[in-house]
Amino acid sequence: MKLLDIIEVLRTKAAKRIAYGALILLIVVDFIIPRHEVHFFGDNIRGFWSLFGFIACVLIIIISKWIGHLGLMQDESYYDE
């Protein structure tokens, strides 16, 4: 039952706050982290990958759902008719 307790702890409000704190920490530390040789423009921008991750996620969800509702998504009995 110990495993269940851990999962329950991760579902509390406090855990959520820690997660938000971690997000801020991710961007802050990105300002001091050493860079490897620059391959493209994004390597020079601090916090680039945070923004990229967030925008990528939002774009994927919105655009895919939009395409889906254009006609790709059909009722489960579509092929039976």
Partner: protein
């Protein structure tokens, strides 16, 4: 000749599966389980002790068939195929249906045969063994929809196989050489006979690699397969195709564009998908996209990345299929709209699935991190920024679905009050082994890098690389929870290019119905007058001769023939499943004949 394949230096791992599979029905209960595990372990050790070189060369008619071409590339694929064989067999060891085990053995054996094939004809033979054995893993689900899916699966693969065969024949007629060699295809369409040959061969391969628009068989068949069958299917077909692509057409630029499209395509469909196993199937397309793109880039670093990624992918994707398969097995459904709240009753399965999800998402210290990043970094270093960005975008999408959507909607989400328990011990053991591999490869990545075909000059654990990955993943997670309402699953299916097959078949039937009527009424009558009546007339004469001349001593022979034809009647069942089984059996006979012939 037989001694060559059974010498100590080189034992073909396929032989263990192909011959071992024949004896499965002889054993019962625990002995059978032990036997199957033993065979799969022996095949693995055969790969471990195998030295590099060329073995098992046979002259057949005027062709030289090579069954054992061993180098670093074929060996690393053989390692992962045999490891997966062991894990998969542990996962499916409780299955009562001998036919399913048999199909699995031939499927795995076929993939190993392709891996070590030194000539196109051998490759093609094993290629077809894979198609005809794996389709049974779909059919053995025994639901009407899986029978249909199986037929479509077979249709795609027979078509792809024929295109491949056409390419092979053309290649042979041009060069007179069947040995597998580097035949890159440049541009988008063939310009001369040689490029047409490699074009056809590439098309044959990319059907199996599930490159859209030829990839619809994958999300169609895998979710329709049995719980245990899907675990095997997720591992072998697409990865043997990737292996074949590396061998024959590394550096073909069109593969870069195809691969990047695949990576994004799988992600888009995964948003729409409601069936957890179909969602994972679309993510196979997405992940194989990284590999196909890497093959297209073709640099040593990219090929290393592709091989490492195929290795890790087989382990984490099968782990994901085992996790969702366990849910299907225990809860009776894999639909996200019918699942939720299972964390209370299946927490351990959840942990294994999340480990698979973190691995596929390339989370630091999980296997995907050390493999996917080689390919992606190769694109960065080649300054193909558009491809690099697109693959990073697909990475975010991968975490969004496999790492977040699947676990969230199965184990959390809306509690549906399902009382599903943890799966049987063997399924859990297989998931534990898979999880250990996923974490182990992420930490002890040097041992994986040592197996790769080229020397590796890549260090995954740099501060910036870890930080870049963590940022992408955590902010994807933020997006997921902010847009959770929008992402809520809908009880729908998504149309793919198999629409043309399904709806096209209807149209074809409508078109051929009048033709069938003509055939029945008109040609049928002609047939009766021109063929049937004269034949019957001749037969009557013979019958008269027969009854007059034949004496009683021949009656015994007649009875024998009757008995034989009664047996033959059973063979002619009219069911394509049985014919396919006969074809596979015919293939075994063929292989034996080739080996035994002087």
């Amino acid at each position: 000749m037989m001694s060559e394949i059974f010498n100590i230096q080189f034992l073909h791992p396929s032989a263990f599966y192909l011959l071992g599979g024949l004896f499965i029905p002889l054993f019962k209960g625990k002995i059978k389980q032990g036997y199957m595990l033993f065979v799969s372990l022996m095949a693995f050790f055969a790969v471990v002790v195998m030295p590099h070189g060329t073995y098992g060369v046979y002259e057949f008619l005027s062709w030289k068939l090579t069954f054992g071409d061993v180098d670093k590339l074929s060996k690393v694929f053989a390692y992962i195929f045999t490891i997966m064989g062991v894990i998969g067999i542990i996962y499916s060891i409780h299955v009562k249906n001998d036919g399913e085990h048999f199909a699995v053995f031939y499927y795995v054996g076929g993939s190993l045969g392709v891996t070590f094939a030194g000539d196109f004809l051998t490759l093609f033979l094993f290629w077809e063994v894979m198609a005809f054995s794996s389709v049974f893993l779909v059919w053995f689900r025994k639901s009407p929809s899986s029978v249909d899916s199986g037929f479509r699966y077979l249709l795609w693969h027979v078509a792809g196989g024929l295109i491949l065969l056409a390419g092979i024949i053309l290649q042979y007629s041009i060069s007179g050489d069947l040995s597998i060699q580097y035949l890159p295809f440049h541009g988008w369409w063939p310009t001369d006979l040689q490029s047409l040959a490699s074009f056809l061969i590439v098309i044959g391969f990319i059907v199996n690699a599930a490159v859209p628009p030829f990839g619809a068989w994958l999300p169609d068949a895998y979710p329709a397969a049995t719980v245990t069958g899907a675990v095997f299917m997720s591992a072998f077909t697409t990865k043997t195709a990737v292996y074949a692509l590396i061998r024959i057409c590394a550096g073909s630029e069109m593969l870069i564009i195809m691969g990047v499209i695949m990576a994004i395509y799988g992600v888009v469909y995964a948003v729409l998908e409601n069936d957890a196993r179909r969602l994972l199937a679309y993510h196979i397309i997405s992940q194989v996209g990284y590999m196909v793109a890497g093959v297209g880039l073709g640099t040593q670093m990219a090929i290393n990345g592709v091989v490492a990624h195929a290795f890790c992918h087989i382990l984490y994707k099968s782990l994901l299929f085992m996790g969702t398969g366990s849910v299907l097995y225990m809860a009776g459904t894999a639909k996200l709209t019918e699942l939720g709240g299972l964390y209370k009753t299946m927490p351990r399965t959840m942990i294994y699935t999340i480990i698979g999800g973190l691995s596929i998402s390339a989370f630091p210290f999980f296997s995907g991190f050390v493999s996917k990043s080689i390919t992606v970094a190769a694109f960065g270093e080649a300054h193909l920024t558009w491809a690099f960005m697109a693959l990073m975008l697909a990475s975010a999408g991968t975490f969004l679905h496999t790492g977040l959507k699947v676990p969230y909607f199965i184990w959390f989400g809306k509690d549906r009050g399902l009382k599903a328990k943890e799966p049987p011990w063997n399924m859990e053991l297989a998931m534990i082994i898979g999880s250990l591999f996923c974490v182990g490869l992420g930490v002890f990545y040097k041992s994986l890098y040592a197996l790769l075909p080229y020397p590796v000059h890549f260090e995954p654990y740099t501060a910036y690389h870890i930080w870049e990955t963590l940022q992408v993943l955590f902010f994807t997670q933020l997006g997921f929870f902010l847009l959770l309402k929008k992402l809520w699953c809908e009880d729908t299916i998504s149309l793919d290019t198999d629409w043309f097959l399904r709806k096209g078949a209807d149209a074809f039937l409508r078109f051929t119905k009048p033709l069938a009527n003509i055939e029945y009424n008109f040609i049928g009558e002609i047939y009766e007058y021109i063929i049937q009546k004269p034949v019957m007339g001749v037969a009557k004469i013979f019958k008269m001769v027969d009854t007059v001349i034949v004496d009683g001593s021949l009656n015994g022979l007649g009875k024998l023939t009757l008995a034989c034809s009664r047996k033959m009647q059973n063979v002619q069942s009219g069911q394509i499943q049985h014919y396919a089984m006969v074809m596979v059996a015919g293939f075994i006979v063929l292989i034996v004949i080739i080996m035994v012939l002087p």
